[in-house]
Amino acid sequence: MTLLEVKNLHTHFITRDIGNQVQVAKALNSVSFQVEAGEILGLVGETGAGKSLTALSIMGLLRPPAEIVEGAISFEGRDLVNMRISELNKIRGAAIAMVGQNPRGALDPLTRIGEQIARVARAHNPKLSKSNAATMAVAAMDRVGIADAPARAEAWPHELSGGMAQRVLIAMALINGPRLLIADEPTTGLDVTVQAQILDLLRELVQELNMGAMIITHDLGVVAQYCNRTAVMYAGRIVEEGLTGAVFSQPAHPYTQALIGSTPEKLDFSIDLDEGGGPPNLYGLPPGCHYIDRCPRPADACVRIPSNVAISESHHALCHFAEGSS
């Protein structure tokens, strides 16, 4: 069974303007992907592409005016979209765990870190005694590479460096034995050497515990080096998805090509996404391909929604002009 399957997910922000007219921002438009146990999926895209919103939709953390208007999210075969909150609460924080960016902001400043980790264990297992939970917390801290864990469990969040705080959040995510880990920009704001340590840890945990993981990032380096599969998002759609090696060596969608050509290592002087304006307005998306206004080779066909073209068995792109490699 597939660990996580997101199918045709539409998440919209529905508001009313000053004239009481309904305004809909189509933030996610038919997002579909899967995560299998033991693999890391990289969800990559620029600010506003809908990466974090995808994670929040899965976790059931959307707040009005955001809502899922269509689509299905199934975790181990169970539908998360229509699940009762009480049921969902048994899953999130336990079988599905999430690590966010800004780790220091995610910790309660007035609680020692060992206690915070133990709380998460006790929230899902009320029978667990405080002392057992504390022991578990120390073991989890030890597992994520925090030296001298028993002593560090007594530390306050403000005493931690960014990298250490992120390890604490990972320990917290692990404490209830998750089968799916969602990491939203887990290393943004960390220094390169620390970033590599944290990502090494995540990869090691995925392999050791046979978890599925989803790393949300805007850094193509993170995806290229750590993710088995890559999904590229643009304006609420996944425009290309495939094995990381294939997506980077044969990018089929013009946006993926432009994104790779925007990295300093492969800076392409013939394209300039910036001069073509920003991503489209979510309140008034183009009817067909969302990339039409920035695409270097738009055509008549692009006013229709492109279908997902298979480049190979495990690699597809949402472009009328993507071609199979055969």
Partner: protein
């Protein structure tokens, strides 16, 4: 370029700040380097390594505690603000956060025009012409000149900051993380712009960044900083291909190349950067260095020449044991493809 031709020389620059409860933060420790005419010098280091403080000390925005900054042969270290102002026309800075660097109540054209008012005797028509010339230079749509900063995107704002810095034809621009707060595609636009500007105008630049890919792309030479001290400097490709200092080797190996084919082994660094309040003795990196010796913690390593322009501050260069070997390499990335 000859040694004497440096446009800027920084000699033994040290900067401390008062910390809490009577402690002292040693932000910059005895830093010496130079920038040559027309050259882009990249400065890399992790957060807290003192990069920005060096940039601020050069541009007179922070007072050096000791040491000197020589600009065009003139000591500007402790120049009073009154006299420094005359220099700003030739010595400009672009900051990391373009949203915070522009006065929100002024129109873009007024912002770009301001240095011309302050530093030149151009009349109004000449200034107007120069402003639209600058807009074209930084590829900013001239229609945006009469807008306010809040109407522009981050990339456009950074172009305004660059236009403002270029207005008076400066000889040196300090760029302090100019692309770090921008999205990938916008960042690429700014990088293309800077590379073009470098071709069109031969301005010297100090490019401060923690992003190794960006620094490699844009710099002629680089300086690697650790805990406010230079550990290595040299021509960019030399340093990237044959890093000498163990810290540089570890730093470069942690850089994630956006190409899954180039998955390389990584030198694992234990621990984190020590505190700038309690500096280690000897080599600052000794406590984390895989090839460190007892003696490294006792004496500060001098800068030694490796090869021409390439220098490294590591005691182990002498016995050739500075290179991290296979023993210090983590398992290579194993990407299933």
């Amino acid at each position: 370029m000859s040694e004497g031709g440096a446009i800027l020389k920084v000699n033994n620059l040290t900067k401390t700040f008062p910390g809490g409860s009577g402690s002292t933060i040693h932000a910059v420790n005895d830093v010496t380097f130079e920038i040559r005419p027309g050259e882009i010098l990249g400065m890399v280091g992790e957060s807290g390594s003192g990069k920005s403080t060096i940039g601020r000390a050069i541009t007179g925005l922070a007072q050096a505690t000791s040491g000197g900054v020589i600009f065009r042969g003139k000591d500007i270290t402790s120049l009073p603000e009154k006299h420094f102002r005359g220099l700003r026309k030739d010595l400009q800075i672009v900051f990391q956060d373009p949203w915070g660097a522009l006065n929100p109540r002024l129109r873009v054209k007024t912002i770009v025009e301001e240095p011309l008012r302050l530093h030149t005797d151009m009349n109004s028509a000449e200034r107007k012409r120069r402003v639209s010339e600058l807009a074209q230079l930084v590829r900013l749509n001239t229609g945006l000149l009469s807008r306010f900063p809040n109407e522009l995107s981050g990339g456009q704002l950074q172009r305004v900051c660059i236009a403002r810095a270029l207005a008076t034809n400066p000889e040196l621009i300090v760029l302090d993380e100019p692309t770090s707060s921008l999205d990938l595609s916008v960042r690429a636009g700014i990088l293309r712009l800077l590379l073009n500007l470098r071709r069109e105008l031969s301005i010297s630049m100090l490019f401060i960044s923690h992003d190794l890919g960006t620094v490699r792309l844009i710099s002629d030479r680089i300086v690697v900083i650790y805990l406010g001290r230079i550990v290595e400097q040299g021509p960019t490709e030399k340093v990237f291909k044959e890093p000498s200092h163990p810290y540089t080797q570890a730093l470069l190996s942690a850089h994630l190349t956006p190409d899954p084919e180039i998955g390389h082994g990584r030198h694992i660094l234990e621990g984190e950067i020590p505190s700038t309040v309690h500096l280690p003795t000897g080599c600052f990196f000794a406590g984390r260095c895989p090839v460190g010796l007892e003696s490294c913690t006792k004496q500060s390593p001098p800068m030694v020449n490796i090869d021409g322009d390439h220098q490294s501050a590591c005691l182990r260069v002498a016995d050739g044991e500075n290179l991290l070997g296979a023993a210090q390499i983590a398992a290579p990335n194993h990407m299933p493809t």
